[in-house]
Symmetry: C2
């Protein structure tokens, strides 16, 4: 019941982080219901029983993994000092609207869990909303004073890039996926008004 000698506090923290990262990887690719706790723990080279020393339930894991992911997304990365805001924003957009992202590289929870969060509890929805607001904040941070659009216009931009990635994941025709991403890269520039 109580943590004893052979496992240090750091070890528990590390294990917890490992579980969160593997859980997010699996949840983002398959959704809540299709992921089993056994699967998550096996990915961590642990057994199912050990799970409950870290989390109360699968639902709690989901919520925490969602929050965890918000800090590991590409958008959370700090801009290198020597790159201008406009160039960095352009880079972020291209990265988001890339085949690599659609294929699951550093998946954005907003796109990958878009319809999965709906059936979860309010906590998960709150985490989703927070991440969405944060995405808008980050983009506006780089865009403001540089482009000719309002803060409200950013909401349309983020809807578009999230939607593009979410839709593209279901499309097996590679050519169509490319066309969607290309169109959105263009429209994003149109909305921002010159970057």
């Amino acid at each position: 019941m109580v943590t004893t000698v052979p496992y240090s506090k750091e070890h528990k923290q590390q294990t917890r982080q490992l579980i969160l990262s593997q859980a997010y990887r699996l949840f983002s690719s398959k959704g809540f219901s299709s992921v089993t706790i056994d699967e998550v723990m096996q990915a961590c080279s642990l057994t199912r029983g050990a799970f409950y020393a870290h989390f109360e339930s699968k639902s709690q894991l989901y919520k925490e993994a969602l929050t965890f992911s918000a800090f590991n997304t590409a958008l959370a990365e700090r801009k290198p000092e020597d790159i201008p805001a406009k160039a960095w924003l352009s880079h972020l957009l291209d990265q988001y609207l890339s085949v690599a992202h659609v294929s699951g590289e550093r998946p954005c929870p907003l796109a990958f869990l878009a319809t999965d969060v709906v059936s979860r509890d309010s906590g998960a929805k709150a985490a989703y909303t927070y991440t969405y607001q944060n995405m808008n904040k980050v983009i506006w941070h780089y865009a403001q004073n540089e482009v000719s659009c309002t803060e409200q216009d950013i909401l349309g931009l983020t809807s578009m890039i999230v939607g593009a990635v979410a839709v593209a994941r279901n499309i097996e025709d590679r050519r169509l996926v490319e066309r969607i991403l290309t169109s959105c890269r263009q429209q994003a520039r149109l909305i921002l008004g010159g970057i």
Copy 2:
């Protein structure tokens, strides 16, 4: 094993359509895994056992329900003769980008099942892709010759409206939802270039 007297062929067809419509209603609101066959059949006032006289499996039902929905979406509605193409397109956009739609009224499968289809089989993905292509075709049909954008630009537009609805469903803050929808209605007009 074989259909006998007390149930006519039309009766079977009617039952089948009822199952499809109830299934789509449930799938679109909760996703594949969270819907049970029992639930679908209860919504039809039938029992679980009867299901297998109509479909082979839950997966097949999902795929067929997805295809079925494509023919019942608001976008599939015919334009009344006396309404100009531009006005009709404008009406379709406003309807798509409405709180009512986000709340589940005549749900568009592209938005409501955006991340749910990913884990399904190729048949489901093909149905999704077909529906997406069709949405683009319909919008382009009304837009062409009326607006100043290319067919490729429509892909960005549809990504945006699908994304907006998918994202908004997870947000409990009504005010934020309104702001997202408003922004997208504006950006949609911007992309179309004057409607």
